[in-house]
Symmetry: C2
Subunit: 215 residues, 2 copies
DNA sequence: GTCTATATACAGATAGAC
DNA sequence: GTCTATCTGTATATAGAC
């Protein structure tokens, strides 16, 4: 089985090879078929180890799920939608770049499958849901807010409530694509995504652009 | 297949009392604990019938789920966010009313639980997902679009793409509340909802209000 | 149609040899 | 640490009496 998992969470040395194989198999099976449907036998088979070995590393099926989600959240953490670089902001290109990165991120197969896995089991594993929320959506909101604050400081935008505006921007460019995906009704076309991004930026700027510096 | 289910919603006459008890129990248990976790034994117990009786009405656990979702979708169908009444539209109050109805609908426990149930099992039951999508989200979008078209006809709004604008409006007033709920991180406060609605309307109107009739 | 009792399969988890 | 073999509970679904 392919195992390109290079992250810092799990010890990458050869010693823990089987452990990483197990996590890889769990990721594949849990995220595609679901937690309850996936048996420990199936994971052991997919990972190429025995079931007993599996229980050496993880005390229970629940523990394996938690470890997996923690690991995945850590691996998606470092990404950044925007970082200050001291130079003047070009508003529209910057917003478009943020929107593109964001939709790419949340339409990415791995992130999306993780989302669904967490969501489907949030009731039974509330801690997992919080970890995911902090590493994923909340982080995105904060990065957008950071950008908006910088744009306000440069007098490009006028925003009474930065947090609200960040949520509005992300909601606009996301539209209802998440629904389509959550319900597994096929991936939206590139055209759909582009139309949503362009339209979203237009609406957002109509509301928040500083009229005094409009060229 | 002992049942030719001819119904629109389940026949409420006394004859099918136990059948409705079963559907009620299935709704309660499936939507709160999940499909896989809920056993047919538990449903039979909750419904106050034997498991064998249950299998007289539904060929399998899967069939019970499908029947339940169909039934729920039919029961949420008739609602309306807006209907034309021939009189001139008062823009802001009308948008606010639509937004309130919409958030009330999608924050409603029953609708929300149904959403999660469908979503969690969409991969295995694609037909179910389509039925839900048509009866729920898609229907809402269409009703908003109908309203927007009427407002455009009365020259209150200027909208190049009605479908896109409808999605944008719903996205704005929904914000990321669905995330919070999907991940079971608690119901949003009334204040949060109100802020989102007011802010969303403001942004929407800034982008689409017809400037020529602004009072 | 409805029940009790049961067939059959497979789940999560463990024992014990190496 | 890793394996094979197994324990134990519970799941879906059915048989057969009434």
């Amino acid at each position: 089985m392919p195992r390109p998992r290079r992250n810092q969470a799990i010890d990458p040395s050869g010693e823990n090879r089987k452990l990483r194989q197990v996590l890889g198999a769990a990721r594949e099976l849990f995220t595609t078929h679901g937690f309850d449907v996936t048996s420990m036998d199936a994971i052991a088979r997919e990972a190429g180890v025995s079931k007993a070995t599996l229980y050496v590393h993880f005390a229970s099926k629940d523990a394996l799920l938690s470890a997996l989600v923690d690991d995945e959240c850590r691996s998606i953490g470092p990404q950044m939608l925007w970082q200050p670089d001291g130079r003047p902001i070009e508003l529209e290109p910057a917003l478009r770049a943020i929107a593109r990165d964001y939709t790419a991120f949340f339409l990415d197969d791995r992130g999306l499958k993780l989302h669904r896995l967490v969501m489907s089991n949030a009731a039974r594993f509330p801690k997992m849901a919080e970890v995911f929320m902090a590493a994923g959506p909340r982080r995105c909101e904060q990065e957008v807010a950071t950008f908006l604050r910088a744009a306000v400081a440069q007098q490009l935008l006028r925003i009474p409530d930065i947090g609200l505006a960040a949520i509005q921007f992300l909601s606009l460019v996301q539209g209802r694509l998440h629904l389509q995906w959550e319900l597994q009704l096929g991936r939206p076309s590139a055209n759909d995504v582009a139309a949503l991004i362009d339209g979203g930026i237009r609406v957002f700027l109509a509301a928040y652009r500083n009229p005094e510096i409009r060229p």
